[in-house]
């Protein structure tokens, strides 16, 4: 039994390795993506350009402008005498926002009422606008506290962020990329596998060859699983040693979870592949699934934000569970029980997808 199986697997590995392009795809692609995306994808806002329309010559407006100019997220400020020309600057994306200080600003503060500052954002950049608003709110809160000094102690709400106290976005991005970059090669290889043989006509040869159906299926699954595991492990090693991320969980549990994750994805891929006659169809099927799996995994936006019915469906997404495990293992020192709570749904999904793939491949062979 092991004899023919070994040959099937060796044959699949040979097709894999004979093609140098495949290796490039398996090793170079994840590395490149890690490098670019870990630095590019950030929800922090930096280097922004601001226009300031200051109609007030009092000292408080000058203080406010001084603090804005020296803020770390601001790259440059343009001070305009009036709001003339402002519209064009926002239209052409020269500035993300304009700060408008009215003429009575300092006077109002000195007289004990509130000085109002207007912030005008480019709503086309909704996300950055929202984040920048919270930054500016912080600066104004500080200035408010300084203006009040001498008055009585104000009640405060202090915020602390566990697991990632400085909210470094890379600490989220790099573990998320472990999941994404393990998923890509598995999906690509498993969906194209059967479809490629069908298109080339070699699938019929398999039917008459002496290998059993189980061996064919394993021969298709294992190389994909191997590719996903090596790509994922590579990113984990780099995350710890090159990016210096904290790793607080159990490595063996993480690797076990990754194996289950990769198998469940390979099962989905092979299921799609068994239904396709051409590589092009398989690729489209893969594409639709990758987008569905990625957008609902919590990678782009939290699952909490989704509509209720979608949150239920998301439980069937292995990437959602694996994301929780990866982030938990890196940052949260997740306990074994908590990892298992995410691992078993993934295992169920894996059993379902792998057996449906086996069933469909078996049926198409007979």
């Amino acid at each position: 039994m092991l004899g023919p199986l070994r040959h099937t697997i060796i044959k699949e590995f040979i097709t894999l390795i004979r093609d140098p392009a495949t290796l490039r795809v398996l090793v170079a692609a994840p590395l490149m993506q890690l490098l670019i995306f870990s630095f590019a994808a950030s929800m922090e806002v930096r280097n922004i350009h601001i226009a300031i329309v200051n109609e007030d010559s009092g000292r408080w407006s000058q203080e406010l402008v001084r603090r804005l100019e020296s803020a770390s997220f601001v790259d440059s400020t343009v001070v305009l005498p009036s709001s003339y020309g402002l519209e064009k600057m926002i239209d052409q994306r020269q500035v993300l926002l304009a700060v408008h200080v009215p003429a009575d600003f300092s006077r109002s503060i000195d007289s004990g009422t509130s000085g109002k500052v207007q912030l005008i954002f480019d709503g086309r950049r909704a996300n950055s606008a929202q984040i920048t608003f919270s930054y500016i709110q912080g600066i104004v809160n500080e200035l408010n506290n300084d203006l009040r000094s001498g008055a009585i102690l104000q009640p405060t709400a202090s915020a602390r962020h566990w697991f990632n106290p400085n909210l470094i976005f890379m600490w989220f991005m790099v573990p998320s990329l472990v999941a994404t970059l393990a998923l890509m090669p598995v999906f690509l290889m498993s969906t194209l596998s059967v479809a490629r043989e069908r298109e080339m006509g070699t699938f019929d040869q398999l039917v008459v060859s002496p290998v059993s159906t189980l061996e064919i299926i394993l021969g298709k699954l294992l190389p994909a699983v191997f590719a996903g595991m090596s790509s994922g492990t590579l990113i984990i090693i780099l995350a710890i040693y090159a990016y210096g991320l904290p790793f607080n969980g159990s490595m063996s549990l993480l690797l076990l979870s990754m194996l289950v994750f990769v198998c469940s994805i390979a099962g989905i891929g092979l299921t799609i592949s068994s239904q396709c006659n051409t590589q092009q169809q398989a690729f489209l099927g893969m594409f639709g699934s990758v987008i569905l799996i990625m957008t609902t995994s919590g990678f782009f936006s939290p699952v909490d934000n989704m509509p209720e019915y979608l949150q239920l469906l998301v439980q069937a997404n292995p990437a959602k569970h694996f994301m929780d495990i990866v982030l938990g293992s890196f940052l949260k020192s997740m306990t074994t029980a908590e990892v298992l709570a995410n691992l078993w749904p993934m295992a169920v999904i894996g059993v379902v997808t792998v057996s449906s793939a086996s069933f469909l491949v078996r049926r198409s062979l007979h």
Binding site: I36, A40, H49, L64, R148, N164, L292
Partner: protein, 362 residues
């Protein structure tokens, strides 16, 4: 075109994608799972707890002790918790001691953590101001400042509600177009190279440019059909405003299809198989459009090297143009530089393709 999958990609994939970007991804803070740990029964604490329960930003789970909620923060069931401590009421009543509440969030998801902390602080400050104004504050409360010396007013041009969907859906259109023009084209033409039918075609008397054009035009049309279909859906179904003109949309989309098709063609020429074309297409077409085009992540905030890389991502110019056309109107001063950049990238990509082809054929 005989292959039904091409029709599938033009008519099924775009609406499906749009649906996921419209519904699944939201960067707005709404119904965030937060626990509220109230450690005492005083009037202030109860009133503040009610204020938290009333807001639409949070889904509040009440608790009595921190211990109860810490586990859920680790497991990811909670995004954070707010603690109103034991001595909160006593301190509120005492002018010499400042009352404090604590907001703890799950920093492993930094984005939602910082939004939630900001909103939770906002709820507290609003509550405080409300107490001070209504004069219900008790001994120390009467001395609370009713108003902050500086107040901020915010206005968002082009997108007054600051709906993240209005920004994401145009991005999704760029993604759909990339899939059709770059990925599908790369695969289809790679298949022709794989089978040798392309070489056969190129040895016929028809000129090289004619053959390439005849291969690309169907995908150009398919791409435009998808853009207009998506736009219709976005406006009718998701209620996204469309301030610009259809003519501008056609112009900008055609300009984008040039480099997108050029990239697909180039990939098909350099890759020897459909498998390779698919993987390179994912790497150079799909992922950059998703992550480097500015619709998810702000380009200006990226490191300089990455910012330079985004300059050669055609989708960057397309996403910016679409956002203008949808939300602001035909801002030609913004659109024209974008169109020119896309055309320039297209010319470079087609030039490279012809160069590579000649190299491969001779």
């Amino acid at each position: 075109m005989r292959d039904p999958s091409a029709m599938l990609i033009a008519f099924v994939l775009p609406p499906a994608l749009l649906f996921f970007f419209g519904y699944a991804i939201s960067l707005d803070v709404k119904d965030v799972n937060l626990a509220l740990v109230v450690e005492n029964d005083g009037a202030y604490s109860r009133d503040l707890a009610a204020a938290y329960a009333a807001t639409a930003y949070f889904d509040i789970t009440p608790a009595r002790h921190r211990k109860e909620v810490v586990r859920e923060l680790v497991s990811g069931d909670l995004t954070g918790f707010v603690v109103i401590p034991q001595d909160f009421d006593a301190r509120m009543a005492d002018p010499h001691r400042a009352a404090n509440i604590q907001i703890i969030t799950d920093g492993s998801r930094p984005n939602i953590a910082s939004f939630s902390a900001g909103y939770a602080q906002g709820v507290f400050n609003t509550w405080l101001a409300g107490r001070a104004e209504s004069g219900l504050t008790g001994i120390a409360g009467n001395q609370l400042e009713p108003q902050a010396p500086i107040q901020l007013e915010q206005r968002f041009w082009f997108n007054p509600e600051l709906d993240s969907r209005s920004v994401l859906v145009p991005g999704a259109i760029a993604l759909v177009t990339t899939i059709i023009a770059t990925l599908l084209t790369a695969m289809v033409i790679a298949r022709e190279w794989e089978r040798g039918t392309m070489e056969a075609l190129l040895s016929t008397p028809a000129s090289r440019a004619e053959i390439i054009l005849s291969k690309l035009i169907p995908y150009f049309v398919l791409g435009l059909v998808a853009v207009f279909g998506c736009t219709l859906l976005a406006v009718e179904f998701f209620g996204i405003p469309f301030k610009g003109s259809l003519g501008a949309l056609l112009l900008v989309s055609s300009a984008f299809l040039l480099p997108a098709l050029g990239l697909g063609l180039l990939i098909s020429v350099v890759s020897q198989s459909q498998f390779e074309a698919a993987s390179i297409g994912l790497l150079l077409g799909f992922m950059p459009t998703l992550l480097l085009s500015g619709f998810m992540y702000e380009i200006q905030s990226m490191p300089l090297v990455v910012q330079l890389i985004t300059e050669i991502v055609p989708a960057r110019y397309y996403v910016a143009s679409l956002q203008s056309i949808f939300l602001a109107g035909d801002v030609w001063s913004d659109l024209i530089p974008n169109i020119l950049s896309m055309l320039a990238l297209g010319i470079v990509l087609f030039g490279l393709t012809f160069f590579k082809m000649r190299e491969g054929l001779d």
